[in-house]
């Protein structure tokens, strides 16, 4: 039997007997992320979609100064609440989201035909109130527009005179693409799952074996170290792949629990999606396994390796965050960049777009090349005399 295969089988068998590895690779990683995802998305959908049609309660100061305005706003969905004694303090202390104040001078200005002022008191640093503030502002503006148009009509002028320019929105986003914004973290979840799936094996097969001092007798066997390494890498990759596959299946099932009718999109996390995700991720899983082993080879103990790898875990989140913060137009070369290529590719799949042959090839080739380099670097470290000496 080939030596690498012997090492592979032994590592798999040994780690299948380790409860901590099993739970992390096959349970927590692949199942927690989809569950979390479903909850997050459903919560987000409720927040965004529920608000639009709901009545908007607003404390009003000096409602008696503008009965017509208040009547119009109430018709548009506002509910008048009793005013707090000190509106500014109430907003600062977060007792009120937004307060509408109508000054005593309002009626006088109105009658003279001068701009009458109403005040919106709010705290722009509180993100959760943005929605309410902009709804109230829109209501006030709408009322102002209607009254303005009436005044022009009364004077025999067309209201169109006061609107020389109109900006019309023509949103070209497909329903999928709109939903995709919410799903931009999906690729990261997959990368994270693969990372966690292989992490414990990478540590156990290198730093762990070194700590337990079994590397020395192992290297006394008549097998080149690179073959031993290949067996260990294969075991790490296998665990990561199983973890990833479970995760993809879990997402396909989780997709059914997301209320897509509210999203106004078709969510397809089915077989086609799963196949392409696994394909794009395949070389990346190998790259991650090699990098994890490389890092673990520098650590003297299990715990030290764990610390290093927890830091390394933050690297894959970068492309996801980058693409959210700085949206870029995908160029072909970007697909060849490991992590970035997978991010772009998987996002395209989520958006329901067909993935071209060139991006897929670039993604696979680029990441595979990086994986090869990482494996060669790890082999160099494995060949060093220092590696086998523990203590």
């Amino acid at each position: 039997m080939h030596a690498a295969l012997t090492v592979f089988l032994k590592e798999v068998r040994e780690n299948l007997r380790d409860r901590r590895t099993l739970i992390n690779a096959l349970l927590t990683g692949p199942l927690l992320a989809p569950a979390l995802f479903v909850v997050l998305i459903n919560v987000q959908l409720h927040i965004e979609l529920d608000k639009a049609g709901k009545p908007l309660p607003v404390p009003v100061v000096g409602a008696a100064n503008a009965p017509n305005l208040i009547a119009a706003l109430v018709q548009m969905g506002m509910v008048v609440k009793p005013a707090p004694r000190d509106p500014e303090a109430a907003v600062r202390e977060q007792k009120a989201d937004v307060v509408l104040r109508i000054p005593a001078a309002y009626a006088a200005h109105w009658r003279k035909g001068e701009p009458a002022e109403v005040e919106l008191i709010y705290d722009s640093s509180r993100r959760d109130t943005h929605e309410d503030v902009s709804r109230l502002r829109d209501m006030v503006k709408r009322y102002a527009r209607i009254v303005g148009a009436q005044r022009l009509l009364v004077r025999g002028l067309s209201p169109a005179l006061a609107r020389p320019l109109v900006a019309a929105d023509r949103d070209q986003a497909t329903p999928q693409a709109r939903g995709a914004l919410i799903f931009s973290m999906l690729p990261y979840f997959f990368v994270l799952t693969a990372f966690l799936g292989g992490m414990y094996l990478a540590i156990d097969t290198t730093a762990g074996e070194r700590e337990r001092q079994s590397l020395e007798p192992l290297f006394a066997n008549p097998v080149p170290r690179r073959r031993i390494l290949l067996g260990k890498l294969a075991a790490t990759t296998a665990f990561a792949l199983v973890s990833l596959a479970l995760s993809v299946v879990a997402f396909a099932i989780a997709g059914r629990f997301i209320d897509t009718s509210r999203l106004d999109m078709v969510l397809d996390l089915g077989a086609h999606f799963a196949t392409f995700v696994l394909l794009l991720m395949l070389p990346l899983v190998l790259l991650l396994a090699a990098l994890q082993t490389l890092v673990a080879a520098f650590a003297k103990s299990y715990r030290e390796a764990q610390t290093y790898l927890s830091l390394l875990m933050f690297v894959p989140v970068l492309p996801s965050v980058l693409l959210i913060v700085v949206p870029v137009k995908a160029q072909l070369w970007m697909y060849a960049v490991p992590l970035l290529g997978q991010q772009l590719g998987i996002m395209q799949l989520v958006r329901g777009e067909a993935l071209g042959a060139a991006p897929v090839a670039a993604c696979l080739a680029g990441t595979a090349l990086a994986a090869l380099l990482a494996i060669l670097a790890t082999m160099r470290v494995y060949a060093s005399e220092r590696l086998a000496i523990s203590g």
């Binding site: 039997m1 090492v7 032994k10 001092q213 066997n221």
Partner: protein, 244 residues
């Protein structure tokens, strides 16, 4: 047959091994004796090609370790200082793993495993996971693992370390058995009685150098000491004054 010629090895400024030469013959038990930190483990590690010597040569059955490390490892059975068993595997699985890495076919592997398990009297523990094994059980398992490919040469780093009297005695009997089979047994120790009881030849190492190389009886006669322990102390002292 293990031949060591002028080995040198240093770690930074520390010279761990300086010009060490000796040979261990087939059908003999050779003891590498020396105080802690004398360079015994480093010398042995160069023998089983875990470390590369800066200068000097290692020959195992005539094979040069620098040119044919895999051939040398095939001819050697090794029990390192750290036994390094896999805790989640049973004793038998530990032995089988190394047997497969040596390329044994499954029939030979099973035969060798059964023979070693019987010879080392470990039938009761063979199918238990090594987690929680006693020191003696661990050494037995590691020795069986080192012998699974039936090597002509055996290198043991402190084989009786941590063993109780009964286990030590059993180990001695086992090593005599290996000698009787015509194997070359090289072991290191810092325990005098051990060496007296076991060795046909003693190589004394101190400060990375060989300071004596003879049969225990000859060593006593050379130094005029009453016991080997006195001889050992004299030799080490003499080498210290020379080094200073």
């Amino acid at each position: 047959m293990i031949e060591v010629q002028n080995l040198h090895k240093s770690f930074g400024a520390v010279k761990a091994v300086e010009d060490v030469s000796f040979s261990a013959r087939d059908g003999e038990i050779t003891g590498l004796l020396g105080p802690n930190g004398a360079g015994k483990t480093t010398t042995l590690r160069m023998l089983y090609t875990l470390m590369r010597p800066e200068r000097g040569r290692v020959l195992v059955d005539g094979r040069d370790a620098a040119l044919d490390p895999l051939g040398v490892r095939r001819a050697l059975g090794v029990l390192p200082d750290a036994r390094g068993l896999y805790k989640r595997l049973t004793a038998r699985e530990n032995i089988e793993y190394f047997g497969r890495l040596h390329g044994l076919d499954e029939t030979t592997l099973r035969r060798r495993c059964d023979a070693l398990i019987a010879a080392l009297d470990m039938a009761a523990i063979a199918d238990r996971r090594t987690e929680g094994f006693s020191q003696g059980e661990r050494v037995k398992t590691a020795i069986a693992r080192a012998l699974v490919h039936d090597p002509g040469n055996l290198i043991l780093d402190e084989p009786t370390n941590g063993l109780d009297v009964m286990a030590t005695r059993a180990m001695r009997e086992f090593l005599f058995g290996l000698r009787a089979e015509g194997r070359c047994v090289l072991f290191s120790s810092h325990i005098m009685q051990e060496v007296v009881a076991l060795c046909d030849r003693v190589v004394v190492i101190a400060h990375g150098r060989v300071v004596a190389d003879a049969a225990p009886q000859t060593l006593r006669e050379q130094t005029g000491a009453a016991s080997l322990e006195d001889a050992f102390v004299q030799i080490i002292r003499r080498s210290e004054t020379r080094a200073a």
